[in-house]
């Protein structure tokens, strides 16, 4: 998979390394900005209030 991406990048090794780095940064940005904030409330790590449960589960 990664090998396939590497082979399909243009240019020499330096250019490919640079493009790879840029791609990694873009992916991390998208994850931190959009994916994780969306996923976080769906995971049970960060509920801090006491409530009556089901009815008010959106906490």
């Amino acid at each position: 998979m990664y090998g396939w991406i590497w082979r399909h990048l243009p240019g020499n090794a330096w250019l490919r390394a640079f493009i790879s780095l840029a791609m990694v940064l873009v992916i991390v940005y998208v994850l931190f900005q959009y994916v994780f904030p969306w996923a976080e409330p769906l995971l049970p790590f960060n509920d801090v209030t006491v409530d009556q449960g089901m009815g008010t589960a959106v906490r």
Binding site: M1, Y2, G3, V28, L31, F32, F36, A39, E40, P41, P44, F45, N46, D47, V48, T49, V50, D51, Q52, G53, T56, V58, R59
Partner: protein
């Protein structure tokens, strides 16, 4: 010449290549699977970095901006009159938690608490704000980890420790009198005006801090109760009460 024989040699063996191609396909599938596993591992590691570090960075930035706004409003508002408290009603100081001041805002919804503040309950049991000068329970919630982690060190709070709430005009000094290190997340009775579980029997002016426990999870809730011992008027220089010095 050499290449020619090489080529001939390869084409000469008609048997192995298909078998090797099949082999190669299995190997490729395994390697893609392995790379997917590595990717999943990296994703989870990144999520940990996000929730334990990045959310704190963002929330602290937001909370300090919001806190500055509130302080500016306080400085601008002179004399009595309705104060705009939408940005926050005051600051909580808990020396034992060693986390400076915590802005207190209305509500305990995720989008409020995620700004790195403590929220007072409006539901299921409405908090009684200290400023109303009535008996009741000033109930607060904040994050244990991530999003500012304002109540991270709640377990350092012990009976007798001061909890000070600062409003525009008054310091409210509370003393911790009971802790409940683990309770069900459905235990809303801890928020009652007279929280019986703390040992309180008669109406009084209580404060309740709630957050999740154990750290990094939300399986249970950690509760700390305090009772108002005195109030102090804020002077012109906003000199903090003895407990904070």
């Amino acid at each position: 010449m050499a290449t020619g024989t090489d080529h001939e040699e390869r084409t000469g063996r008609s048997g192995p290549p298909p078998a090797r191609r099949g082999h190669g396909r299995v190997a490729a599938a395994i390697s893609v699977f392995g790379e997917l596993l590595i990717t999943a591992g990296l994703l989870l590691a990144l999520f940990v970095v996000y929730s334990l570090w990045w959310t704190n960075v963002m929330a602290d930035r937001e909370a300090s901006k919001q806190g500055d706004n509130v302080r500016r409003d306080w400085a601008a508002a002179t004399g009595p009159g309705a104060l705009d408290t939408k940005g926050g009603i005051g600051f909580l100081h808990v020396p034992a938690m060693k986390n400076g001041e915590v802005l207190v805002e209305k509500g305990t919804d995720t989008d409020v608490l995620n700004h790195g503040v403590a929220g007072y309950y409006t539901d299921p049991v409405k908090a009684t704000l200290p400023g109303t000068d009535k008996d009741g329970n000033f109930t607060l919630a904040a994050h244990r980890d991530g999003h500012g982690a304002k109540f991270h060190n709640i377990d350092k709070l012990k009976t007798g420790d001061p909890v000070v709430f600062e409003t525009k005009d008054t310091w409210y000094v509370y003393k911790v009198f009971a802790e409940l290190p683990e309770t069900s997340k459905y235990n809303v009775d801890v928020l009652q005006p007279v929280p019986k579980e703390s040992g309180a029997k008669k109406p009084g002016r209580y404060i309740t801090l709630t957050t999740c426990t154990p750290v990094y999870t939300s399986k249970y809730r950690y509760i700390v109760w305090g009772e108002l011992v005195r109030t102090e008027k804020v002077d012109a220089k906003r000199t903090p009460p003895a407990e904070l010095r």
